[in-house]
Amino acid sequence: MPIQVLMPALSPTMEKGNLARWVKKEGDAVKAGDVIAEIETDKATMEVEAVDEGTLGQILVPEGTEDVAVNTPIATIFAEGEEAGAPAAAGTKARQGQGNGSKSSQQAKGAESLPLAAPDQPETKQAPAPAEPKSAVAEPPKPATVPEPDVPEGTEMVTMTMREALRDAMAEEMRLDPDVLVLGEEVAEYQGAYKVTQGLLQEFGARRVIDMPITEHGFAGLGIGAAMAGLKPIVEFMTWNFAMQAMDQLINSAAKTLYMSGGQMVCSVVFRGPNGPAARVAAQHSQDYSAWYSHIPGVKVIAPYTAADAKGLLKAAIRDQNPIIFLENEILYGHSFLVPKLADFVLPIGKAKIARPGGDVTIVAWSMGMTYALKAAEELANDGIEAEVIDLRTLRPMDSATVVQSVMKTGRCVTVEEGWPQNGIGAEIAARVMVEAFDYLDAPVTRVTAEDVPMPYAANLEKLALPSVPKVVDAVKAVCYR
């Protein structure tokens, strides 16, 4: 029976890729482990290895094809004795090609351990294995239709991924200020474990874009020391999970020094990297640090959802004189948004944004939480409930005034976060709303959070552990008594 080679998922968040090149031709003999093709993802070019022996029968997707969805059959392999040219029948065994990092090595910490499949999307039937890789939530919401409040009317908007927006923000600031530099694991020659620093080494050179050894505690401290000496380092953590090794430096050395020095010792440094649950990487690599860092006086904590906010806020963060915790999201890296085409687009830190206006209920979210919130708001609109969705964007200092103002209008508030419930951001918002808008509340403030458990690996359990659109919809209906 001919074996179908399927387009492989080469990272937890990959949904499609380009078939760059066929290494084997039809009729070539292939052994398990042979490289048969090269695939380009938004992160890297990867080789595809055969997992079966036989003859490459038919190439189903010609080289140069773009945006081939994961799990699409790309070729057939005939086992010994089978005839080339036999049609790929319905009973064909499907095998995914196997990604191989040897060309553009994906062997970095974290990246290496990332599994191939992402959790199934909520509210779809369990697909037969291998599951359709999808990000942890449903379809990425379309770019916001609400005009960006911080952009002059008539500004040209360009479509850009979160990843590109972050890179552009760093590059623009590095062009402006020679004291800005980037430190981190795999930021230079590898072009970033998640390709956020792509091209920076080429433009700015090895003096300003520096690969760090796997030494989070040490290089966080080194970055802070360099900042005390007046430089403006951007320190990338491959993910925030690894920054727990560096937390003493972030909190005790970076956050507190200005205060402890009576205002003398400025520490202008940005710590950035992907935060929050990723996909199928289990408890140690999948958690949200929003509440952890926003607990600490002496830092600013930023967690953008859109690429435009990411760009404008990262530029502001680099210019800021304080230590900044900049929480990105891996799943959002590949999502596209409209970004204003402006020479110098800088957003104010500490200002929330009404992402969708509405009068019936206030939904507060940020970063990945916005994907659930916006999708839920769409569904709720179909049921006649108009939700006002507020994107906090900055978690410290928190713009609770915008939230309170909205709640005074709607009388109801639901918070959405991927962090745990106890002492979460939602708990903080509930407390502030209770104090500042008590008389306006028509229902208790309700939190949608991750479940109070370490992140499980199994796809079904992971889905259960995370917030979801239905959970948000249910919470909203509950506070609306519907």
Binding site: R207, G221, G230
Partner: protein, 351 residues
């Protein structure tokens, strides 16, 4: 009390042999002498630290200083000798036993003492305390309360020097206790990898709080802790300011010339407890007295000044009196200066 020539070593097993305990003819190289002016200056500077710390100890006992207070008495030769190797722009950073470093850097004793008492005229406006003071002007980058944290920070200061292409050097001090922290070795690796200009000065006073180095360290020659990174290191008699200066000058030059980091293990001793609340049950009175009587860094200089007739007893008494006056003035200021205004509670959280 001939300081550098007497007594066979190892009378007490727990006392590590220091260079000063070796007979003169065993010294591998003679210690370069200081000039008369240098000798008198180091005498005065070490005495200032000694008297300042004695006063701080008294004021702590009177309840004028709170919290933790780690005195530097006994270790004065280390910072005073190293200070002689600095040039403008060189940075100093250390842990919490930092009063001596600040005075050696030329920070105002009034500002330091007022910080100890938590008053508005303190270097950190009373918000840092004993362990957390800074002076950008004097190149003093703290004053850090977490054991070992200053090592990556000091490495970062050196990184900034390298980034800017100047020939300044970061003097990064830490103790024998901090030498067992993981981040120290993360820093060693990066410093040698990028040839950063940092002198790691390990002030080995033999006790990490109450745990002697023999009980805490698998290898007790801390100058060799950089060997696996190819960082050169040497043990230095940290009780002899001349030896400190000589070794420090060599190390600083090594760094200035772009050769990368250097480790100096200063064999030194603290006479007082780890902090003011330490009952010091982990060592004998005799051990302390022996170091005091045979190796005291200030007494060594005093004897040399007298023996070489570079100063008279009378002149030295006058120096002591002027130092005491400076310390008393600092103490008076630190007692009279008002506490910070309550509004200061909310300032300096963010810039």
């Amino acid at each position: 009390m001939a300081a550098s020539t007497t007594t066979p070593a190892a009378q007490t097993a727990s006392i590590r042999r220091s260079a000063a305990e070796k007979p003169a003819d065993e010294q591998s190289s003679p210690v370069p002498a200081l000039t008369k002016e240098q000798e008198r200056a180091v005498f005065e500077q070490m005495l200032l630290i000694r008297r300042f710390e004695e006063k701080a100890g008294q004021m702590y006992g009177m309840g004028l200083i709170g919290g933790f207070c780690h005195l530097y008495i006994g270790q004065e030769a280390v910072v005073v000798g190293m200070q002689m190797t600095r040039k403008p722009g060189d940075q100093v950073i250390t842990g919490y036993r930092d009063h001596g470093h600040m005075l050696a850097c030329g920070m105002d004793p009034k500002g330091v003492m007022a910080e100890l008492t938590g008053r508005r005229g303190g270097y950190s406006k009373g918000k840092g305390g004993s362990m957390h003071m800074f002076s950008v002007e004097k190149g003093f980058y703290g004053g850090h309360g977490i054991v070992g944290a200053m090592v990556p920070l000091g490495t970062g200061l050196a990184f900034a020097n390298r980034y800017r292409g100047n020939d300044n050097v970061s003097l990064t001090y830490f103790g024998d206790g901090a030498a067992n922290q993981g981040q120290v070795y993360e820093s060693f690796n990066m410093a040698e990898l990028w040839k950063l200009p940092v002198v790691y000065i390990i002030e080995n006073n033999r006790y990490a709080m109450g745990t002697s180095i023999d009980r805490a360290s698998a290898t007790t020659d801390l100058s060799k802790r950089g060997l696996s990174f190819n960082i050169p290191g040497e043990q230095v008699d940290g009780m002899d300011v001349r030896a400190v200066k000589a070794a420090g000058a060599k190390a600083v030059q090594w760094c200035r010339e772009g050769n990368g980091p250097y480790i100096l293990e200063m064999l030194t001793y603290r006479y007082r407890g780890h902090s003011m609340s330490d009952p010091v049950k982990y060592r004998t009175r005799e051990e302390v007295d022996k170091v005091r009587s045979e190796q005291d860094p200030i007494e060594q200089v005093r004897l040399r000044l007298i023996e070489t007739k570079r100063a008279t007893e009378d002149e030295l008494k006058k120096i002591d009196a002027s130092v005491r006056a400076v310390v008393n003035e600092a103490s008076e200021f630190a007692i009279q200066d008002p506490e910070p205004d309550p509004s200061e509670l909310y300032t300096d959280v963010l810039r």
